[in-house]
Protein backbone atom coordinates (compact mmCIF):
# COMPACT_ATOMS: atom_id res chain seq x y z
CA UNK A 1 0.00 0.00 0.00
CA UNK A 2 1.12 3.51 -0.70
CA UNK A 3 2.66 5.82 1.88
CA UNK A 4 0.35 8.31 3.53
CA UNK A 5 1.37 11.95 3.29
CA UNK A 6 0.22 15.41 4.26
CA UNK A 7 -0.79 17.64 1.38
CA UNK A 8 -2.03 21.23 1.14
CA UNK A 9 -3.83 21.40 -2.18
CA UNK A 10 -6.09 24.23 -3.24
CA UNK A 11 -9.76 23.59 -3.77
CA UNK A 12 -10.63 23.52 -7.46
CA UNK A 13 -14.37 23.47 -6.90
CA UNK A 14 -17.09 22.70 -4.38
CA UNK A 15 -20.29 21.93 -6.21
CA UNK A 16 -23.68 21.09 -4.80
CA UNK A 17 -24.78 17.88 -6.51
CA UNK A 18 -27.85 16.85 -4.52
CA UNK A 19 -29.78 17.82 -1.42
CA UNK A 20 -27.12 18.80 1.18
CA UNK A 21 -24.56 16.82 -0.84
CA UNK A 22 -21.43 18.38 -2.30
CA UNK A 23 -18.60 17.33 -4.57
CA UNK A 24 -15.21 18.73 -3.61
CA UNK A 25 -12.50 18.63 -6.24
CA UNK A 26 -8.81 19.37 -5.88
CA UNK A 27 -5.57 18.72 -7.71
CA UNK A 28 -3.20 16.24 -6.06
CA UNK A 29 -1.31 14.03 -8.49
CA UNK A 30 0.23 11.67 -5.92
CA UNK A 31 -3.15 10.87 -4.37
CA UNK A 32 -4.83 10.62 -7.71
CA UNK A 33 -2.29 8.02 -8.86
CA UNK A 34 -2.04 6.04 -5.66
CA UNK A 35 -5.42 6.04 -3.98
CA UNK A 36 -7.46 2.86 -4.29
CA UNK A 37 -11.20 2.38 -4.03
CA UNK A 38 -12.30 2.13 -0.40
CA UNK A 39 -9.40 4.18 0.87
CA UNK A 40 -10.02 7.56 2.43
CA UNK A 41 -8.43 10.87 3.30
CA UNK A 42 -8.60 12.99 6.45
CA UNK A 43 -9.31 16.72 5.97
CA UNK A 44 -8.57 19.45 8.53
CA UNK A 45 -11.46 21.91 8.40
CA UNK A 46 -10.00 25.25 7.28
CA UNK A 47 -10.75 28.50 9.16
CA UNK A 48 -12.14 26.53 12.10
CA UNK A 49 -9.52 26.25 14.84
CA UNK A 50 -12.34 25.12 17.13
CA UNK A 51 -12.79 21.89 15.14
CA UNK A 52 -10.03 19.70 16.50
CA UNK A 53 -10.07 16.47 14.56
CA UNK A 54 -9.67 15.96 10.85
CA UNK A 55 -12.73 14.52 9.11
CA UNK A 56 -12.55 11.25 7.13
CA UNK A 57 -13.95 11.03 3.59
CA UNK A 58 -13.80 8.23 1.05
CA UNK A 59 -11.96 8.87 -2.16
CA UNK A 60 -14.88 9.31 -4.54
CA UNK A 61 -13.06 9.65 -7.80
CA UNK A 62 -9.60 10.29 -9.18
CA UNK A 63 -8.31 11.28 -12.55
CA UNK A 64 -4.69 10.10 -12.72
CA UNK A 65 -4.29 11.78 -16.09
CA UNK A 66 -4.83 15.32 -14.84
CA UNK A 67 -4.09 14.59 -11.15
CA UNK A 68 -7.54 15.48 -9.84
CA UNK A 69 -9.21 13.95 -6.81
CA UNK A 70 -12.86 14.18 -5.77
CA UNK A 71 -14.71 13.56 -2.56
CA UNK A 72 -18.46 13.49 -2.23
CA UNK A 73 -19.85 14.57 1.10
CA UNK A 74 -23.00 15.16 3.03
CA UNK A 75 -23.13 18.44 4.99
CA UNK A 76 -24.33 17.02 8.29
CA UNK A 77 -22.38 18.80 11.03
CA UNK A 78 -19.96 21.56 11.85
CA UNK A 79 -17.06 20.30 9.77
CA UNK A 80 -18.91 19.27 6.66
CA UNK A 81 -21.03 22.43 6.66
CA UNK A 82 -17.84 24.47 6.78
CA UNK A 83 -16.38 22.43 3.89
CA UNK A 84 -19.50 23.16 1.85
CA UNK A 85 -18.66 26.87 2.09
CA UNK A 86 -15.17 26.53 0.66
CA UNK A 87 -14.49 28.02 -2.73
CA UNK A 88 -11.88 27.73 -5.47
CA UNK A 89 -8.42 28.66 -4.24
CA UNK A 90 -9.01 27.90 -0.55
CA UNK A 91 -6.28 25.66 0.79
CA UNK A 92 -7.20 22.40 2.50
CA UNK A 93 -4.88 20.33 4.63
CA UNK A 94 -5.31 16.64 3.91
CA UNK A 95 -3.74 13.36 4.95
CA UNK A 96 -3.91 10.25 2.83
CA UNK A 97 -4.35 7.82 1.30
CA UNK A 98 -5.52 5.93 4.40
CA UNK A 99 -7.05 2.54 5.06
CA UNK A 100 -6.97 -0.72 3.18
CA UNK A 101 -9.42 -0.35 0.30
CA UNK A 102 -11.58 -3.00 -1.32
CA UNK A 103 -10.02 -6.28 -2.42
CA UNK A 104 -10.83 -8.41 -5.39
CA UNK A 105 -10.82 -12.14 -5.66
CA UNK A 106 -9.05 -13.31 -8.79
CA UNK A 107 -11.98 -15.60 -9.48
CA UNK A 108 -14.54 -12.81 -9.21
CA UNK A 109 -17.13 -13.08 -12.00
CA UNK A 110 -19.75 -10.60 -10.86
CA UNK A 111 -19.85 -7.81 -8.33
CA UNK A 112 -23.02 -6.67 -6.62
CA UNK A 113 -22.74 -3.13 -5.31
CA UNK A 114 -25.16 -2.02 -2.60
CA UNK A 115 -25.15 1.69 -1.72
CA UNK A 116 -27.32 3.42 0.85
CA UNK A 117 -27.34 7.23 0.76
CA UNK A 118 -23.84 8.70 0.86
CA UNK A 119 -22.55 5.12 0.98
CA UNK A 120 -22.31 5.62 -2.76
CA UNK A 121 -19.16 7.74 -2.25
CA UNK A 122 -16.51 5.00 -2.65
CA UNK A 123 -18.38 3.22 -5.50
CA UNK A 124 -17.34 5.51 -8.29
CA UNK A 125 -13.73 4.46 -7.91
CA UNK A 126 -14.77 0.88 -7.14
CA UNK A 127 -16.61 0.81 -10.47
CA UNK A 128 -13.44 1.86 -12.23
CA UNK A 129 -11.31 -0.79 -10.56
CA UNK A 130 -13.82 -3.55 -11.22
CA UNK A 131 -14.24 -2.43 -14.82
CA UNK A 132 -10.48 -2.56 -15.29
CA UNK A 133 -10.66 -6.20 -14.16
CA UNK A 134 -13.50 -6.84 -16.55
CA UNK A 135 -15.94 -7.70 -13.78
CA UNK A 136 -19.61 -7.13 -14.62
CA UNK A 137 -21.49 -5.14 -12.01
CA UNK A 138 -25.01 -4.91 -10.73
CA UNK A 139 -25.66 -2.00 -8.41
CA UNK A 140 -28.52 -1.33 -6.00
CA UNK A 141 -28.64 2.26 -4.89
CA UNK A 142 -31.19 3.44 -2.36
CA UNK A 143 -31.92 6.78 -0.72
CA UNK A 144 -34.86 8.20 1.23
CA UNK A 145 -35.93 10.74 -1.33
CA UNK A 146 -34.89 11.08 -4.97
CA UNK A 147 -33.25 14.49 -4.41
CA UNK A 148 -30.45 12.62 -2.61
CA UNK A 149 -29.27 10.61 -5.63
CA UNK A 150 -25.77 11.42 -6.92
CA UNK A 151 -24.19 10.29 -10.15
CA UNK A 152 -27.12 8.16 -11.32
CA UNK A 153 -26.36 8.90 -14.98
CA UNK A 154 -22.78 7.78 -14.59
CA UNK A 155 -23.66 4.53 -12.87
CA UNK A 156 -26.53 3.87 -15.25
CA UNK A 157 -24.09 4.06 -18.14
CA UNK A 158 -21.55 1.70 -16.58
CA UNK A 159 -23.36 -0.84 -14.44
CA UNK A 160 -26.63 -2.65 -14.28
CA UNK A 161 -28.33 -0.09 -11.97
CA UNK A 162 -31.47 -0.44 -9.85
CA UNK A 163 -32.65 2.48 -7.75
CA UNK A 164 -34.87 2.58 -4.72
CA UNK A 165 -36.32 5.33 -2.55
CA UNK A 166 -38.06 5.01 0.77
CA UNK A 167 -40.76 7.46 -0.28
CA UNK A 168 -41.13 5.90 -3.72
CA UNK A 169 -40.25 9.15 -5.47
CA UNK A 170 -38.01 7.22 -7.88
CA UNK A 171 -37.36 3.54 -8.56
CA UNK A 172 -38.47 0.77 -6.25
CA UNK A 173 -40.41 2.05 -3.19
CA UNK A 174 -38.74 0.60 -0.14
CA UNK A 175 -35.30 -0.22 1.16
CA UNK A 176 -32.44 -1.15 -1.09
CA UNK A 177 -31.80 -4.46 0.67
CA UNK A 178 -35.14 -5.73 -0.65
CA UNK A 179 -33.67 -5.39 -4.14
CA UNK A 180 -30.60 -7.31 -3.09
CA UNK A 181 -32.68 -10.18 -1.70
CA UNK A 182 -34.79 -10.31 -4.83
CA UNK A 183 -31.66 -10.41 -6.96
CA UNK A 184 -29.91 -13.10 -4.92
CA UNK A 185 -33.08 -15.17 -4.97
CA UNK A 186 -33.11 -15.01 -8.74
CA UNK A 187 -29.50 -16.17 -9.10
CA UNK A 188 -28.98 -19.84 -9.92
CA UNK A 189 -25.46 -19.80 -8.69
CA UNK A 190 -23.72 -17.45 -6.23
CA UNK A 191 -20.22 -18.84 -6.82
CA UNK A 192 -17.68 -16.18 -7.81
CA UNK A 193 -20.08 -13.41 -6.97
CA UNK A 194 -19.32 -10.85 -4.26
CA UNK A 195 -21.28 -8.10 -2.62
CA UNK A 196 -19.72 -4.66 -1.93
CA UNK A 197 -21.70 -2.54 0.49
CA UNK A 198 -21.54 0.89 2.03
CA UNK A 199 -24.28 2.80 3.82
CA UNK A 200 -26.03 3.45 7.12
CA UNK A 201 -25.73 1.00 10.00
CA UNK A 202 -29.22 -0.56 9.87
CA UNK A 203 -28.67 -1.34 6.19
CA UNK A 204 -25.28 -2.89 6.90
CA UNK A 205 -26.79 -5.08 9.58
CA UNK A 206 -29.41 -6.28 7.14
CA UNK A 207 -26.79 -7.01 4.46
CA UNK A 208 -24.79 -8.96 7.04
CA UNK A 209 -27.85 -11.16 7.69
CA UNK A 210 -28.45 -11.59 3.98
CA UNK A 211 -24.83 -12.47 3.25
CA UNK A 212 -24.89 -15.12 5.98
CA UNK A 213 -28.16 -16.52 4.79
CA UNK A 214 -27.39 -17.13 1.12
CA UNK A 215 -24.35 -17.25 1.73
CA UNK A 216 -22.40 -14.80 -0.38
CA UNK A 217 -19.11 -13.07 0.43
CA UNK A 218 -19.57 -9.38 1.19
CA UNK A 219 -17.17 -6.54 1.81
CA UNK A 220 -18.36 -3.56 3.78
CA UNK A 221 -16.82 -0.09 3.89
CA UNK A 222 -17.39 0.92 7.49
CA UNK A 223 -17.63 4.33 9.15
CA UNK A 224 -16.78 4.98 12.78
CA UNK A 225 -15.79 8.08 14.69
CA UNK A 226 -12.08 8.69 14.11
CA UNK A 227 -9.63 10.98 15.86
CA UNK A 228 -6.62 10.26 13.66
CA UNK A 229 -7.36 7.92 10.73
CA UNK A 230 -4.02 6.10 10.76
CA UNK A 231 -3.81 3.86 13.81
CA UNK A 232 -2.42 6.29 16.36
CA UNK A 233 -5.39 6.94 18.66
CA UNK A 234 -6.86 3.42 18.80
CA UNK A 235 -10.25 5.08 19.06
CA UNK A 236 -11.99 3.56 16.03
CA UNK A 237 -12.41 0.10 17.50
CA UNK A 238 -15.00 -2.24 16.02
CA UNK A 239 -15.77 -5.56 17.75
CA UNK A 240 -14.59 -8.74 16.03
CA UNK A 241 -17.09 -11.49 15.37
CA UNK A 242 -14.44 -14.00 16.47
CA UNK A 243 -12.44 -12.29 19.20
CA UNK A 244 -9.64 -13.77 21.26
CA UNK A 245 -11.20 -12.86 24.61
CA UNK A 246 -8.91 -10.80 26.82
CA UNK A 247 -6.31 -10.57 24.08
CA UNK A 248 -7.67 -9.13 20.86
CA UNK A 249 -11.33 -8.26 20.60
CA UNK A 250 -11.42 -5.31 18.23
CA UNK A 251 -10.29 -4.24 14.80
CA UNK A 252 -9.32 -0.67 14.04
CA UNK A 253 -11.57 0.75 11.35
CA UNK A 254 -8.90 3.09 10.02
CA UNK A 255 -6.09 0.57 9.77
CA UNK A 256 -7.62 -2.91 9.55
CA UNK A 257 -10.44 -1.34 7.50
CA UNK A 258 -12.40 0.65 6.59
CA UNK A 259 -13.19 -2.31 4.31
CA UNK A 260 -13.97 -5.55 6.16
CA UNK A 261 -15.37 -8.91 5.23
CA UNK A 262 -18.83 -8.38 6.61
CA UNK A 263 -18.78 -11.62 8.62
CA UNK A 264 -15.69 -10.51 10.57
CA UNK A 265 -17.18 -7.56 12.41
CA UNK A 266 -20.01 -6.91 14.83
CA UNK A 267 -22.18 -4.16 13.46
CA UNK A 268 -23.60 -2.19 16.39
CA UNK A 269 -25.33 1.09 17.02
Amino acid sequence: MSEKKLFQPRVAEVRKVAHDIYLLQFHQPFLSRNARAGQFIEIKTPFRPDILWRRPFSIHNVNPDDGDVEILFHAVGRGTKALAHLGPGDTIDILGPLGNGFHYDDELREAVLVAGGLGVAPFRLLQRELARRGVPMTMFYGVSDEDQFCGVDFFDAHVNLKLSTVDGSRGYKGVVTDLLVEYLDACDDLAHKAVYVCGPTPMLRRVQEIARQYPVPAQVSLETIMACGFGACVGCAVPMTHPQPGVKEYYLTCKDGPVFNIEEIVING
Binding site: E3, L52, Y250
Partner: protein, 301 residues
Protein backbone atom coordinates in the same frame (compact mmCIF):
# COMPACT_ATOMS: atom_id res chain seq x y z
CA UNK B 1 22.91 27.65 15.86
CA UNK B 2 20.65 27.18 18.84
CA UNK B 3 21.62 24.40 21.25
CA UNK B 4 18.38 22.48 21.81
CA UNK B 5 19.90 19.79 24.04
CA UNK B 6 18.28 19.07 27.37
CA UNK B 7 19.17 16.71 30.15
CA UNK B 8 16.50 14.65 31.93
CA UNK B 9 18.55 13.33 34.81
CA UNK B 10 20.95 10.89 33.15
CA UNK B 11 19.05 11.05 29.84
CA UNK B 12 20.32 13.47 27.23
CA UNK B 13 17.84 14.53 24.53
CA UNK B 14 18.95 16.28 21.35
CA UNK B 15 15.92 18.49 21.74
CA UNK B 16 13.12 18.77 24.31
CA UNK B 17 10.38 17.55 21.96
CA UNK B 18 8.99 14.17 22.94
CA UNK B 19 5.85 12.29 22.01
CA UNK B 20 3.25 11.40 24.64
CA UNK B 21 2.44 7.77 25.30
CA UNK B 22 -0.62 6.45 23.54
CA UNK B 23 -0.67 9.25 21.00
CA UNK B 24 2.21 8.17 18.78
CA UNK B 25 1.60 4.44 18.58
CA UNK B 26 4.92 2.63 18.36
CA UNK B 27 6.32 5.41 16.13
CA UNK B 28 5.96 3.31 12.98
CA UNK B 29 2.51 4.81 12.33
CA UNK B 30 4.24 8.19 11.83
CA UNK B 31 7.25 7.17 9.79
CA UNK B 32 5.72 8.22 6.45
CA UNK B 33 4.97 11.68 7.79
CA UNK B 34 7.79 12.76 10.05
CA UNK B 35 11.51 12.13 10.22
CA UNK B 36 11.43 10.26 13.52
CA UNK B 37 15.09 10.93 14.15
CA UNK B 38 14.41 14.64 14.37
CA UNK B 39 12.31 14.12 17.50
CA UNK B 40 14.07 14.42 20.85
CA UNK B 41 12.46 11.36 22.38
CA UNK B 42 9.74 8.91 21.52
CA UNK B 43 7.52 7.48 24.23
CA UNK B 44 5.67 4.35 23.20
CA UNK B 45 2.09 3.40 23.98
CA UNK B 46 1.73 1.79 27.39
CA UNK B 47 2.69 -1.87 27.47
CA UNK B 48 1.39 -4.18 30.19
CA UNK B 49 2.64 -7.63 31.17
CA UNK B 50 -0.28 -9.35 29.44
CA UNK B 51 -2.20 -8.45 26.30
CA UNK B 52 -5.24 -6.20 26.76
CA UNK B 53 -8.04 -5.83 24.23
CA UNK B 54 -9.02 -2.36 25.45
CA UNK B 55 -12.44 -0.93 26.17
CA UNK B 56 -15.57 -1.39 24.06
CA UNK B 57 -16.50 1.45 21.73
CA UNK B 58 -17.39 4.29 21.85
CA UNK B 59 -13.87 5.12 22.99
CA UNK B 60 -13.39 8.72 21.84
CA UNK B 61 -15.40 11.95 21.84
CA UNK B 62 -14.46 15.20 20.15
CA UNK B 63 -15.04 18.34 22.19
CA UNK B 64 -14.38 22.00 21.43
CA UNK B 65 -10.65 22.35 22.07
CA UNK B 66 -10.14 18.84 23.31
CA UNK B 67 -11.24 15.22 23.36
CA UNK B 68 -12.24 12.45 25.73
CA UNK B 69 -10.84 8.95 25.50
CA UNK B 70 -11.38 5.69 27.24
CA UNK B 71 -9.14 3.49 25.17
CA UNK B 72 -8.38 1.16 28.08
CA UNK B 73 -4.69 0.56 27.37
CA UNK B 74 -5.11 -2.02 24.61
CA UNK B 75 -1.75 -3.56 23.77
CA UNK B 76 -0.27 -6.81 22.61
CA UNK B 77 1.37 -7.54 25.97
CA UNK B 78 5.03 -7.43 26.94
CA UNK B 79 6.35 -10.45 25.01
CA UNK B 80 4.61 -9.60 21.76
CA UNK B 81 5.69 -5.98 22.19
CA UNK B 82 9.31 -7.01 22.40
CA UNK B 83 8.96 -9.30 19.41
CA UNK B 84 6.74 -7.16 17.18
CA UNK B 85 7.39 -3.54 18.09
CA UNK B 86 10.95 -3.32 19.40
CA UNK B 87 12.77 -4.19 16.15
CA UNK B 88 11.52 -1.05 14.42
CA UNK B 89 12.17 1.11 17.49
CA UNK B 90 15.73 -0.23 17.63
CA UNK B 91 16.43 1.20 14.18
CA UNK B 92 15.75 4.76 15.34
CA UNK B 93 18.49 7.26 16.07
CA UNK B 94 16.59 9.01 18.85
CA UNK B 95 15.85 8.23 22.48
CA UNK B 96 13.18 5.57 22.90
CA UNK B 97 11.25 5.62 26.16
CA UNK B 98 9.13 2.59 26.94
CA UNK B 99 5.99 3.41 28.89
CA UNK B 100 4.93 0.55 31.14
CA UNK B 101 2.07 -0.16 33.50
CA UNK B 102 0.86 -3.04 35.57
CA UNK B 103 -2.67 -3.85 36.46
CA UNK B 104 -1.18 -4.94 39.78
CA UNK B 105 1.58 -3.30 41.79
CA UNK B 106 4.07 -5.94 40.64
CA UNK B 107 3.23 -5.47 36.99
CA UNK B 108 5.54 -2.46 36.69
CA UNK B 109 8.56 -4.36 37.97
CA UNK B 110 7.64 -7.34 35.84
CA UNK B 111 7.77 -5.20 32.69
CA UNK B 112 10.98 -3.42 33.54
CA UNK B 113 12.74 -6.56 34.65
CA UNK B 114 12.01 -8.26 31.31
CA UNK B 115 12.87 -5.13 29.27
CA UNK B 116 16.30 -4.91 30.91
CA UNK B 117 17.34 -7.70 28.50
CA UNK B 118 16.26 -5.68 25.51
CA UNK B 119 18.52 -3.25 23.65
CA UNK B 120 17.62 0.12 22.28
CA UNK B 121 15.73 1.43 25.30
CA UNK B 122 16.81 4.84 26.61
CA UNK B 123 14.46 5.12 29.57
CA UNK B 124 11.26 3.87 31.16
CA UNK B 125 8.16 5.88 31.86
CA UNK B 126 5.92 4.46 34.57
CA UNK B 127 2.28 5.15 33.80
CA UNK B 128 0.78 5.83 37.22
CA UNK B 129 -2.63 6.69 35.87
CA UNK B 130 -4.62 3.66 34.92
CA UNK B 131 -7.26 1.36 36.35
CA UNK B 132 -7.51 0.78 40.06
CA UNK B 133 -5.52 -1.81 41.95
CA UNK B 134 -5.40 -2.94 45.59
CA UNK B 135 -9.11 -3.01 46.25
CA UNK B 136 -9.86 0.45 45.06
CA UNK B 137 -6.82 2.29 46.28
CA UNK B 138 -5.27 3.60 43.15
CA UNK B 139 -1.54 3.84 42.62
CA UNK B 140 -2.09 7.02 40.71
CA UNK B 141 -3.40 8.89 43.73
CA UNK B 142 -1.71 7.23 46.71
CA UNK B 143 1.81 8.57 47.30
CA UNK B 144 2.85 5.50 49.30
CA UNK B 145 2.00 3.05 46.56
CA UNK B 146 3.61 5.28 43.92
CA UNK B 147 6.78 5.47 45.97
CA UNK B 148 6.82 1.73 46.58
CA UNK B 149 6.43 0.90 42.90
CA UNK B 150 9.09 3.41 41.88
CA UNK B 151 11.53 2.04 44.45
CA UNK B 152 10.88 -1.54 43.33
CA UNK B 153 11.59 -0.63 39.71
CA UNK B 154 14.58 1.50 40.68
CA UNK B 155 16.25 -1.56 42.18
CA UNK B 156 15.95 -3.35 38.83
CA UNK B 157 17.44 -0.83 36.46
CA UNK B 158 20.08 1.83 35.97
CA UNK B 159 18.19 3.18 32.99
CA UNK B 160 16.55 6.58 33.55
CA UNK B 161 13.16 6.33 35.20
CA UNK B 162 10.34 8.78 34.52
CA UNK B 163 7.18 8.65 36.65
CA UNK B 164 4.11 9.88 34.80
CA UNK B 165 1.62 11.56 37.13
CA UNK B 166 -2.11 12.06 37.05
CA UNK B 167 -3.56 15.55 37.56
CA UNK B 168 -6.65 14.13 39.28
CA UNK B 169 -5.31 14.58 42.80
CA UNK B 170 -5.44 17.21 45.51
CA UNK B 171 -1.68 17.63 45.53
CA UNK B 172 0.39 16.53 42.56
CA UNK B 173 3.60 17.54 44.27
CA UNK B 174 2.87 15.16 47.12
CA UNK B 175 2.91 12.30 44.58
CA UNK B 176 5.87 13.91 42.82
CA UNK B 177 7.88 14.03 46.04
CA UNK B 178 6.99 10.40 46.73
CA UNK B 179 8.29 9.15 43.39
CA UNK B 180 11.35 11.38 43.76
CA UNK B 181 11.98 9.62 47.07
CA UNK B 182 11.39 6.31 45.37
CA UNK B 183 14.25 7.09 43.00
CA UNK B 184 12.61 8.50 39.88
CA UNK B 185 14.96 10.54 37.69
CA UNK B 186 12.15 12.75 36.42
CA UNK B 187 8.40 13.17 36.49
CA UNK B 188 6.13 13.72 33.53
CA UNK B 189 2.73 15.40 33.88
CA UNK B 190 -0.07 15.51 33.14
CA UNK B 191 -1.91 12.41 32.13
CA UNK B 192 -5.53 13.03 31.11
CA UNK B 193 -8.08 14.83 33.31
CA UNK B 194 -11.19 12.86 34.25
CA UNK B 195 -14.07 14.08 32.10
CA UNK B 196 -17.45 13.14 30.73
CA UNK B 197 -19.88 14.00 27.95
CA UNK B 198 -23.57 13.22 27.64
CA UNK B 199 -25.57 12.55 24.49
CA UNK B 200 -28.73 14.54 25.20
CA UNK B 201 -30.69 12.95 22.35
CA UNK B 202 -30.05 9.38 23.56
CA UNK B 203 -29.81 10.52 27.22
CA UNK B 204 -26.75 8.44 27.84
CA UNK B 205 -23.02 8.99 28.27
CA UNK B 206 -21.12 9.36 25.04
CA UNK B 207 -18.33 7.01 26.16
CA UNK B 208 -19.03 3.34 26.79
CA UNK B 209 -17.14 3.67 30.10
CA UNK B 210 -19.20 6.77 31.09
CA UNK B 211 -16.19 8.86 32.14
CA UNK B 212 -12.87 9.09 30.33
CA UNK B 213 -9.72 11.16 30.01
CA UNK B 214 -9.84 14.76 28.79
CA UNK B 215 -6.86 15.94 26.72
CA UNK B 216 -5.90 18.51 24.10
CA UNK B 217 -5.55 22.31 24.09
CA UNK B 218 -8.37 22.75 26.62
CA UNK B 219 -6.33 21.09 29.38
CA UNK B 220 -3.24 23.22 28.82
CA UNK B 221 -3.98 25.77 31.58
CA UNK B 222 -4.47 22.92 34.07
CA UNK B 223 -1.27 21.20 32.97
CA UNK B 224 0.66 24.48 33.24
CA UNK B 225 -0.42 24.92 36.86
CA UNK B 226 0.55 21.34 37.70
CA UNK B 227 3.93 21.56 35.95
CA UNK B 228 4.66 24.84 37.69
CA UNK B 229 3.76 23.30 41.05
CA UNK B 230 6.00 20.28 40.40
CA UNK B 231 8.91 22.36 39.18
CA UNK B 232 8.76 24.52 42.30
CA UNK B 233 8.57 21.62 44.73
CA UNK B 234 10.70 18.87 43.23
CA UNK B 235 14.42 18.70 42.65
CA UNK B 236 14.19 16.30 39.67
CA UNK B 237 13.31 17.56 36.18
CA UNK B 238 9.72 17.88 35.04
CA UNK B 239 8.56 16.82 31.59
CA UNK B 240 5.45 18.75 30.61
CA UNK B 241 2.45 17.16 28.92
CA UNK B 242 -0.99 18.59 28.26
CA UNK B 243 -2.43 20.39 25.28
CA UNK B 244 0.86 21.15 23.57
CA UNK B 245 0.16 21.75 19.89
CA UNK B 246 2.43 24.65 18.95
CA UNK B 247 5.87 26.00 19.82
CA UNK B 248 4.15 28.77 21.80
CA UNK B 249 2.45 26.16 23.98
CA UNK B 250 5.76 24.39 24.56
CA UNK B 251 7.44 27.67 25.47
CA UNK B 252 4.81 28.39 28.11
CA UNK B 253 5.67 25.11 29.78
CA UNK B 254 9.43 25.56 29.60
CA UNK B 255 9.15 29.05 31.08
CA UNK B 256 6.94 27.58 33.82
CA UNK B 257 9.69 25.10 34.67
CA UNK B 258 9.59 22.11 32.32
CA UNK B 259 12.89 20.75 31.04
CA UNK B 260 11.27 18.86 28.17
CA UNK B 261 7.74 18.24 26.99
CA UNK B 262 5.57 15.69 25.23
CA UNK B 263 3.14 16.26 22.39
CA UNK B 264 -0.06 14.21 22.73
CA UNK B 265 -3.48 14.78 21.17
CA UNK B 266 -2.00 17.16 18.57
CA UNK B 267 -0.36 14.16 16.87
CA UNK B 268 -3.79 12.91 15.87
CA UNK B 269 -4.89 15.96 13.92
CA UNK B 270 -1.49 17.41 13.08
CA UNK B 271 0.73 14.36 12.64
CA UNK B 272 3.80 16.51 11.97
CA UNK B 273 3.20 18.66 15.08
CA UNK B 274 6.42 17.49 16.75
CA UNK B 275 8.58 18.69 13.86
CA UNK B 276 6.74 22.00 13.57
CA UNK B 277 7.16 22.61 17.28
CA UNK B 278 10.86 21.84 17.13
CA UNK B 279 11.30 24.36 14.32
CA UNK B 280 9.21 26.98 16.12
CA UNK B 281 11.27 26.57 19.26
CA UNK B 282 14.44 27.10 17.29
CA UNK B 283 13.04 30.25 15.66
CA UNK B 284 11.95 31.70 18.99
CA UNK B 285 15.39 31.14 20.45
CA UNK B 286 17.05 32.78 17.47
CA UNK B 287 14.73 35.77 17.58
CA UNK B 288 15.31 36.24 21.28
CA UNK B 289 19.05 35.60 21.17
CA UNK B 290 18.85 32.51 23.28
CA UNK B 291 21.76 30.27 22.46
CA UNK B 292 20.75 27.31 24.63
CA UNK B 293 17.12 26.32 25.00
CA UNK B 294 17.68 25.34 28.64
CA UNK B 295 18.07 29.04 29.47
CA UNK B 296 14.31 29.22 29.12
CA UNK B 297 13.56 26.57 31.72
CA UNK B 298 11.84 28.15 34.70
CA UNK B 299 12.54 31.65 33.42
CA UNK B 300 9.70 33.15 35.47
CA UNK B 301 10.97 36.22 37.28
Amino acid sequence: MVDLCVQIGPLRLKNPVMTASGTFGYAEEFKDIVDLNEIGGIVTKTVTPNPRPGNPPRRIVELPGGMLNSIGLPNVGLENFIREKMPFLQTLRTEVVINVAGTTEDGFAECVSRLEDVDGISAYELNFSCPNVNHGTSYSTDPNIAERITAAVRRLTRRPLIAKLTPNVTSISEIGLAVQNGGADAVSAINTVVGMAVDIAARKPKLATITGGYSGPAVKPIALAKVYELARNLSIPVIAIGGIATAEDALEFMIAGATAFQVGTANFYQPDATIKIKKGLESYCKEHNISRVIELVGALP
